[in-house]
Point group: C2
Chain length 478, copies 2
């Protein structure tokens, strides 16, 4: 078909060059544009509307679980960043340095925050005095900067947007509960809003957050078989508290260090959304997060009555969904392509013949199926359809992940699986850094997580053959 | 009374030292804290909730008027900032410079955005091709940095939060309309939500935005008689378009420069809110913007039934207002002080006797008036009361501004007025820079605006006595 052909010319097929397909989609779907500032992106209205929807859902969940939003400074004095040894070691190579203010050189260099643990710690050391002040449950929505060498829109950019939660608790137990609670909020959000199935688990020591006691993560699998770390939740223990002297007087009048957590999700997840659901016609958005859920395209718009009829439908449907209408004089074919590229879940076509018959045509973005629906029970059908699309996208992604998940009991199997069916590899691990590094060296796959749902697939470490401690998910990753 | 006494000890009286009163209020009302980063503030949950409410109202108004949110990079390459001569001259002395990324010195220094005109222009130069692309109506919510020497929370900080609108239009006329539209949105917001009366007018050339053709402003008067520029809306003309080559092909196939605007309001306005309505017991918040509109303080909370009764009331009232309840074991006296300090518009007291009588006590923050209200029509009374408080705060502020506005026809009168009744001075001006500068030198008052509502109060310039062109509002300003 002419329409299909047009797109074959316009965007690269994902089977041909997945990286180029991704770049084409983010540009053609009007999500981002490149700026003249190296590695920084311009988030265009359609991309930002997605981020606003993500923010809206998560912010509500954070507030419902007792968190409050605050705002900490953009800058971190060098001496403050250096207080926690592992933390500075982890971040120093990838920060931007402010050395001059106005026309003067600064006495102390400032870092543009790559994350804000030390700023929260600095504040907590003054704000927390007594057990009555705990727990302190803060979150902030902010921009952060990490000086990356190679960048790609959403996935890896010098500057990105995120939220970072920072909490302080009286006990280790409470902090642990918080880490789990927030990981579950992220997992629920990814699965039920973004339709992205995730594997929940713990990062190995090598992969954990710089300065954390342990890191929990949710990992998802992209269409090309690479994994994406989708959100993380860190138990910081008392490590930061000891360096920043964050102590509280407990009920027995004893000074105790607080137990801290931090957790975050970023604009990176939009990259995941694209790579999990997108296809060769462009973006595919799950209804629950789509800025526009239904796009009305009037057919033969200049025929008497069509435009008014379509506008009436829009007014009706706006009560149950986020509805757009394209009343421009572009051709229906152009419009079909445009809104397919933008991943709008449902297209509603209505022309003179449909009006006569008292029907409209609904076209699903996910399956391309055309459905003729009577206008009488349109709201009901639309709600059902959006719900069905949401579920279908999740199930498709889950099926894809399952198909792309292999089991390996030795390195030969490991390498073969990675080559023949790139995706997650489930393999046992002895727990040694040496074996973890060997896998990375030999295959460029990394440990994604030690899943909470452990299975016993073999007795021996996939690398060294020694006694295995954990099942680990491995994959090449973004 | 003991309660009053406590506060006299706790915060400085505004008549005694207004600057110290301000600092005390922002701290004691838990709005901000100082950070170890010079000139940057920590916006605490209560302060940030205020900012979130401000964002919510304005963002809705921006979207209703066709604007879309986007996100531009934090950094501006030096060469990009230098493209518009007046703009770089205005901003270069007060920017933060990033010179190193990771361990490497950058080839070109980056500025941390003090405002984003040049980033939007850079984008527009690629994104705008045809008259069909216009108008382009963008806004962004972001942090910006200006390297100030002396700083005060909200009023003047190195980093602040704001929104900046950036639009491009086909004609000068349309751009002008946009400038007026956005100024009116700000004025409406300040008057109807923040209860801050404003004077709308145009900045003199000396005071306009660096690079603008002209700047419209809304100016408000603080309790101490100093003015605060509360929001601005700039007509950029074609100046930036010419430097950045932002051209579109018009309907006749001719290349034309776009006409641009920009407009913004920042966390500064929270400083205005404090200084317009606050009193010696702390913050006073207008109901429409207050994070908590009603705080329930149960009396004799441990008496049987009181707590449950109060919680039931909360559930009831939450349908019509933002309601809080303090169920802690602190004394009612402590709670009264705390929520007065925080400026919560209404306190609801309920104890065993009230329950018996089927009433509650409502205490207005603005007038301290106690009102006994039957629980039967509580919702209705509360809505009325909140509405009345909102109006009263506006009227009080307007009256204050009127009392603090003087007329001067010569410099003797000008100086006397500024000394005897500090506030706005209305005086005629010939339009010369020399006279404007002379007023600043001799009185430290600056021109706040040439108000849209012109009055003819004298024929001659207040400084030189030559023929006057405009009535101008003058004042010392924050």
């Amino acid at each position: 078909m002419a329409k299909e052909k047009k797109f074959v010319e316009e965007i690269t097929a994902m089977e041909e060059d997945f990286a180029q397909w991704y770049t084409d989609v983010v540009k053609k779907a009007d999500l981002v544009d490149y700026s003249t500032v190296r590695g920084c992106m311009i988030i265009r209205p359609y991309g930002y509307a997605l981020w606003e929807n993500i923010q809206k859902v998560l912010d509500k969940k954070f507030k419902e679980t007792g968190h409050q939003n605050v705002y900490m400074p953009l800058f971190i004095p060098e001496s403050l960043l250096q207080k926690e040894k592992d933390h500075i070691e982890g971040f120093a190579p990838e920060v931007a340095w402010v050395t001059h203010g106005g026309n003067e050189e600064l006495h102390e260099r400032l870092v543009v925050r790559p994350t804000s643990e030390v700023l929260f710690c600095d504040y907590y050391s003054k704000a927390i005095q007594s057990y009555r002040d705990l727990p302190m449950l803060y979150n902030q929505w902010a921009n952060v900067v990490r000086w990356e060498k190679t960048t790609r829109p959403f996935l890896r950019t010098l500057e990105f947007l995120w939220q970072e939660g920072h909490t302080a608790h009286a006990t280790d137990e409470e902090a642990k509960e918080e880490v789990v609670r927030m990981l579950n909020i992220y997992a629920d959000f990814c699965e039920n809003y973004l339709a992205i199935p995730v594997v929940k688990g713990q990062k190995t020591d090598k992969e954990k957050f710089a300065g954390a006691k342990f890191t929990y993560t949710i990992e998802s699998l992209m269409h090309d078989g690479k994994a994406l770390q989708s959100a993380t939740s860190h138990h910081l223990g008392t490590g930061f508290a000891e360096q920043f002297n964050i102590q509280y007087l407990d009920q027995n009048g004893q000074w105790q260090y607080v137990h801290q957590t931090s957790w975050g999700i970023s604009t990176r997840i939009i990259g995941g959304l694209i790579m999990v659901h997108g296809d060769n016609r462009g973006l595919v958005l799950p209804p629950k997060i789509a800025p526009t859920q239904v796009m009305i395209v009037p057919i033969a718009i200049h025929k008497e009555g069509v435009l008014d009829y379509a506008l009436d439908l829009k007014a009706r449907l706006e009560k149950v969904a986020r509805v757009g209408i394209d009343t421009s004089d572009k051709t229906p074919g152009w419009k079909f392509n445009e809104y397919e590229m933008k991943g709008i879940p449902v297209r509603l076509e209505v022309g003179p013949k449909d009006i006569e018959k008292g029907q409209v045509v609904l076209v699903r973005r996910d399956t391309n199926e055309k459905i003729f629906v009577s206008v009488d029970n349109l709201e009901e059908k639309l709600i059902e359809l959006l719900d069905d699309i949401q579920k279908n996208l999740y199930n498709k992604a889950l099926k894809h992940r399952e198909e792309k998940t292999s089991v390996a009991t030795n390195m030969v199997e490991f390498k073969r699986a990675l080559e023949e069916n790139p995706g997650f590899i489930k393999a046992m691990w002895c727990g040694s850094l040496a074996c973890e590094e060997k896998i990375k060296e030999e295959t460029s796959a990394t440990s994604r997580c030690i899943p909470f749902e452990q299975e016993h697939i073999h007795d021996h470490c996939v690398v060294c053959g020694e006694k295995a401690k954990h099942l680990v998910y491995w994959a090449k990753a973004y």
